[in-house]
Amino acid sequence: MKPEESATTGADLLVKALIDEEVEVVFGYPGGAVLPIYDSLFKQNRLRHVLVRHEQAAVHAAEGYARSTGKVGVVLVTSGPGATNAVTGLTDALMDSIPIVCLTGQVPTHLIGNDAFQEADTTGITRPCTKHNYLVKSVGDLARSVHEAFYVARSGRPGPVVIDLPKDVLMNKHEYVAPPKVAVTHKSYRPQTQPDPKKIEQAIEMIAGAKRPVFYAGGGIINAGPKASKLLTQFVHLTGYPVTNTLMGLGSFPASDKQFLGMLGMHGTYEANLAMHGCDVMINIGARFDDRITGNLTKFSPGSKKIHVDIDPSSINKNVRVDLAIVGDAGIVLEELVKAWKAKQPKVDQKALKAWWAQIDTWRARNCLAYKPNNKVIKPQFALERLYHHIKDKDHYITTEVGQHQMWAAQFLKFEQPNRWMTSGGLGTMGYGFPAALGVQIAHPEALVIDVAGEASILMNIQELSTAAQYRLPVKIFVLNNHYMGMVRQWQELLHGGRYSESYSESLPDFVKVADAFGARGLRCEDPDKLDDTIKEMIELKHPVIVDVIVDEKENCFPMIPSGAAHNEMLLGPDDKQSAKVSEEGMVLV
């Protein structure tokens, strides 16, 4: 066969490459620059395309798909505004280490730089918000770039990768290049997954010698695949030590386990934060010492020796200097740790450990998540407790928007498995949860998928109700409607003398009617006594549903470590205000 005969257009090559990368679904939105790709999609039936209503939502949907499956999420958008609309999603995926490949259209190569119609410098704009990006200038490079992009997105510390595709490249012809059979070795990019065996030994020694240990486990364990969560659980059980999770790590250790201290950090539990503050050995696996965790760095866990396991050397010693750094994949490192622990059977100081647990139990006894029940208005915490009661035995996935409701969801819903909890942690993107839930539902058609939302956040991507309707995605939007940008109001209360500047959710739509207008179902509940029935009805409806839960407007989220404070300077509730003197340094922090 002559080369011309076997040659296909760039657009067809692209689709073939995606299929070879085992892509099942693409979240996208068409436009002039990507019309050849849409034409190729039209001519095949292996790849499913899900038409979103805004490109930001395409990326969040792909993130939800990726986080709930462990696969790479794929996005397709047009040039110019299509690409710029995707930027928030890409930044979100970068911050939370979510593997995404985003295909962007571009004006033909000969027009690049001419301010052509719908031209944007997409590789320039996305350079700081992607793990890597490509501008494909010749159709001969297309298939190889796609395969490389998938490898970069999913390997090492996962992240978003953009492939910018000029229209002429999509229309020119070339032969297809299949993905390499053996795992690619990239010429310059070689993430380190295998730990240094000497460091495993040192870690075992430090861990075994601890008197007041704590495991601090983060999103890196979820990134490392479900096996890593199993190994974490096994290792924690072997040692008998307490464990806490970051917001991104929830689900990596079963929440119902008695060794679990709950989430740590700004809105973490009393026991988790005090254990972090008072420990003598901290074992960080796949967490990045984020400022929501550390609070005031100079007062962060002052007396501990710290071990940090991370696949990305730039996460190590970035915020907190550690005593033992192990670069490697969390799953592989945990496997080595479990093996070494079993082989060595080290003697742990059981007396010290018992005293440490006794201390932790006194902290637990403070019951820091307690709230004042009320039989007239629905407390947001109560709403989530009831929600959890009704979903816990069902195959369910939770996503969230950003705000108080997100923190309450993290505190009051229990995560027993990885990949069940999708939230925007690093960027904190309002508008993330609903499109992410759509992506989750696409991946798990039979599961119960719930977006825990705030009334302000949900308006940021509400147009996706149309997508939900089109594809009959029975996602449930559980709005904790407090008529405020509650998280903003809480900070204004704490830091700005209760001057609630622009944080009231004015002129809200009637969410029940909104649902109706989009062909979804709307429910409303204002009465604590009717909440159970409403939740049951929501679950039973085989449609997309918005539940407008009218909750206490003034409730704040506790515990809280004010900005600039230390772990042992936590506010436990509304009556704890006297100690809430936020320092000048704290005021400038976000």
Partner: protein, 169 residues
């Protein structure tokens, strides 16, 4: 050395010579608020399409460690070496220095150029362009001396550096 001491480091980076690579490196520095004191880049291996970037940067030891880790994390980066910590190395830069003047000053400029082993690479009846090579100190001293002798223009390459001994990067 205290953990807050600001130190200068010379870092050598071997990269794939592909479009946008310099923007990635420079964007990293500006985006994360790191300093660039000097930066040079050129292709050094045409066959493999590799370039060497030499960066002089300043920061606390923790920042320097971050800079190296962040550079190493860029997909087209092969290797990052901190010449300042990895043993003895040589640093050089080149400057072109234009001096305008006649009479005594012109003679004195030429005499000093000789002392600094600077070459005359352009001469007119009332001007010279000198080429001077050396470490930053030497180049700076030479330029400083020319200031009183009719200096009108100066251009510098920035630092290139290499480890001493037989080892490659």
């Amino acid at each position: 050395m205290s953990k807050d001491t600001i130190v200068a480091h010379t870092i050598s980076v071997l990269v794939a010579n592909e479009p946008g690579i310099l923007a990635r490196v420079v964007g990293l520095f500006s985006g994360r608020g790191y300093n660039i004191e000097s930066l040079t880049v050129a292709e050094t291996n045409a066959q493999e399409s590799q370039s060497r970037i030499t960066i002089v940067t300043k920061g606390t030891p923790m920042i320097i460690e971050q800079i190296k880790a962040q550079l190493d994390r860029l997909v087209p980066v092969y290797r990052v070496r901190d010449l300042t910590v990895e043993g003895p190395h040589i640093e050089r830069e080149l400057a072109l220095v234009k001096v305008k003047g006649v009479g005594e000053k012109r003679v004195e400029a030429l005499r000093l150029a000789d002392v600094f082993r600077a070459k005359v690479i352009d001469a007119k009846s009332d001007s010279f362009v000198f080429e001077v090579t050396g470490n930053t100190d030497k180049v700076q001293t030479f330029v400083g001396l020319m200031e009183n002798l009719g200096l009108v223009d100066v251009v510098r390459t920035g630092i290139v550096a290499m480890s001493r001994g037989g080892e490659a990067l």
